[in-house]
Symmetry: C2
Subunit: 133 residues, 2 copies
C-alpha cells in the first residue's frame, strides 16, 4: 500500500527547480518526519557511524534514558520510512542504514545535484530504496 519512494521521489527535481507535486510532498515528508525526532536522528547517526556499519539494539538502548519499547518503536519508525533495515542474527537484531535514501534526500535539497556522492550508483535510479512496510 505504501507508495515506493524511488518512483515518486527518486525522479523528482531539487526543491528549487520546480515545485513538488502533492504526492511527492507526501512521500518526502514521510522521511523527514521520521528524522524529525531527536532520538531517531541520534539513533540514525549511532547506527551509521557504528563499526561495521551496523549496530545491535542493545548497544543503542544503553545510550538513552528511555525504555526498551520506546527505542524499539523509534527503530520501527525509521524502518518504515526506509531509512534503516533490521536483521535478526541469533539472539540479537542488527540495524543498518540505507545510504541510498540519505543520498536521494540530500540531492533533493540542494540546487546542484552533486551526484558525485559514492552512494548514488550510476544508472541505479531503479535500484533506489523501496519501502516495504
Amino acid at each position: 500500500m505504501l507508495a515506493q519512494l524511488a518512483e515518486v521521489v527518486g525522479c523528482c527535481e531539487p526543491l528549487a527547480r520546480e515545485p513538488l507535486s502533492a504526492q511527492q510532498s507526501v512521500e518526502l515528508s514521510r522521511v523527514f518526519k521520521a528524522m524529525g525526532d531527536p532520538v531517531r536522528l541520534r539513533l540514525l547517526s549511532l547506527i551509521a557511524s557504528h563499526v561495521g556499519g551496523e549496530a545491535c539494539v542493545c548497544d543503542l538502548t544503553d545510550v538513552f534514558d528511555l525504555s526498551g519499547p520506546t527505542i524499539s518503536h523509534h527503530l520501527k519508525v525509521l524502518r518504515e520510512a526506509g531509512l534503516v533495515t533490521g536483521e535478526r542474527r541469533g539472539t540479537w537484531v542488527y540495524y543498518r542504514v540505507r545510504p541510498e535514501l540519505l543520498a536521494t534526500v540530500s540531492a533533493v535539497l540542494v540546487p546542484e545535484p552533486a551526484e558525485d556522492s559514492p552512494a548514488s550508483v550510476p544508472g541505479g535510479r531503479e535500484a533506489l530504496p523501496v519501502v516495504e512496510a
Copy 2:
C-alpha cells in the same frame, strides 16, 4: 533562547562519520520536523522555485485547499526553523528560502561533503543561518 543552528549543526560531521550529540540531534531534528509535513514541504518548494526566488503569501494560499490561518501557521513554522524568511512590502508579504540551511542539512546526510554546492560560501561557516525565533 533558541540555540543557533550554525554553532551546533554547522560544525557537525556527516551522520555516518560520528554520532550526533544530544544537543546536535535536538537542533537538527527541529529542521527536519519542520520539513516533515507535506504542506510545509510543498510550500518550501513553491517558494524556492518561484520566479525571483520569492513568493507572496496570496500565491501560496491559492495552491492548497486550506484556510489562510493554516497556511500562515505553516509559514511560521518554516520561519522559526530558519528555512525561510518573510518580508513585508506594502500590502503583501514575500517569503524567500535560506539556501545555506538546505545546503548545511544536505551535507550532514551524505558521507562525502560534496561542498562544491554554490550556496556554501568558503570559510562562511559562521555565516550560516541563525534562528531568531
